[in-house]
């Protein structure tokens, strides 16, 4: 898949995944990888940025295996941001879809 496409949509996928349930980094990478084929390294900077912008909160939780894990939780601002992103996404896909259809027909 086009890297530029992925980059834009990745944010929405990550936000939506964390909205479903709080996740830690590795878990989230696996979850996102199921949807889009993505370089695993790029998820962490994204998480960092979204945390810095207060869309995510983080907390540490002990795990049975290994060190404590940092969990990500979606904040109210994050929910709003996710909704706006989703609206933008659906509008974009709709417009692009309509355009492609018109081109095909015309």
């Amino acid at each position: 898949m086009n890297a530029q496409f992925k980059k834009g949509v990745l944010e929405l996928i990550v936000l939506e995944s964390v909205r479903q349930k709080d996740m830690y980094g590795y878990e989230l990478v696996e979850e996102v990888s199921k949807v889009v084929d993505v370089n695993e390294g790029t998820i962490y900077p994204l998480l960092k940025r979204l945390t810095n912008e207060h869309y995510f909160e983080t907390y540490l939780r002990e795990s049975t295996e290994g060190p404590p894990r940092k969990y990500y939780h979606l904040t109210a601002a994050g929910v709003l941001y996710r909704d706006s992103l989703e609206a933008e996404w659906s509008q974009l896909t709709e417009q692009v879809g309509r355009f492609l259809k018109e081109c095909r027909n015309g």
């Binding site: 370089n39 390294g41 790029t42 962490y44 900077p45 998480l47 940025r49 290994g66 940092k70």
Partner: protein, 279 residues
């Protein structure tokens, strides 16, 4: 590339970040590699999934709003010029505080300007008042001097006459005194005439303004009746407006006369005082 070298390289290229942030992000990658290893991959395979370290660090720095080229230029010990969103928000807060401060200072300046202006005006008014008073005082003093001079001259004449006993000088003195007395009488007459003329003029003004006032009142009465008639349907609109104009005119003339008189009153009193002093 094994985990150790990967982490070392990551730390080196992210050295522009704050220590805490660096620990945090490197810790995430470490954990990720550990988990990959747990799931059965080798360290090399896990790290290979990250792609090139350069791209990765560029992306990480982008998340902190730090330019990648800046990071590479400032490798090793560099100034920590990273910008976090909360740092940004702090900045905006600072900016907002500054703005409010500036606004406050401008308001303060404006108020002080007003106060200064008011103070200057007040001082100016005081000065004017002072100078007026001073002028009056000077006038009074001058008058007093004049009277003093007169009395002094008289005395001097007496002394001179009693001392010299010369015929010529005595005649001269007598003539001088006669002319002085005549002059005094003439001056008194002139003053009296002037006073009479002034009084007459003032009386004329009083009469005229009183007449105008009376006429104005009469016109007002007429205007009232005309308005009543107008409301009853008589076609008297033009006459009513004319009456209103006349009314205003008469009242304004009366007001003018009265104010002129009022202003003249002061002068009159002064002249009366002068006349008295001269007498």
């Amino acid at each position: 590339m094994d985990k150790k070298t990967f982490i070392a390289e990551l730390e080196r290229s992210l050295s522009v970040l704050q220590e805490e942030e660096l620990r945090d992000i490197v810790g995430e990658y470490e954990q990720h590699i550990d988990m990959k290893v747990q799931s059965g991959l080798t360290e090399e395979e896990a790290i290979a999934d990250f792609g090139s370290v350069k791209e990765l660090t560029a992306e990480i720095l982008e998340a902190y709003h730090v330019r990648a080229d800046f990071a590479s230029a400032a490798e090793g010990k560099a100034e920590k010029k990273w910008e976090l969103p909360f740092a940004k928000s702090g900045k905006t807060k600072d900016a907002a505080a500054q703005q409010t401060k500036e606004r406050l200072t401008t308001i303060k300046q404006r108020i002080t300007g007003w106060l200064k202006r008011a103070g200057a005006w007040f001082l100016g008014a005081m000065k004017l008042w002072d100078t007026q008073e001073m002028r009056e005082k000077i006038l009074h003093r001058d008058e007093a001097k004049h009277t003093d001079e007169f009395s002094y001259e008289g005395k001097a004449g007496n002394v001179a006459r009693s001392e010299t006993h010369g015929c010529f000088t005595s005649v001269q003195r007598a003539a001088e005194q006669c002319t002085a007395v005549l002059m005094e009488i003439l001056r008194f007459c002139w003053r009296g005439a002037l006073w009479c003329v002034r009084i007459g003029w003032n009386l004329c003004w009083i009469g005229f303004s009183c007449f105008c006032g009376a006429m104005g009142l009469f016109c007002l009465f007429g205007l009232g009746t005309l308005v009543v008639l107008l409301t009853q349907g008589y076609p008297l609109a033009g006459v009513t407006i004319g009456c209103l104009g006349l009314n205003l005119c008469l009242f304004s003339i009366a007001g003018l006369g009265m104010t002129l008189l009022w202003k003249k009153k002061k002068k009159e009193i002064e002249t009366v005082q002068e006349v008295k002093a001269d007498a």
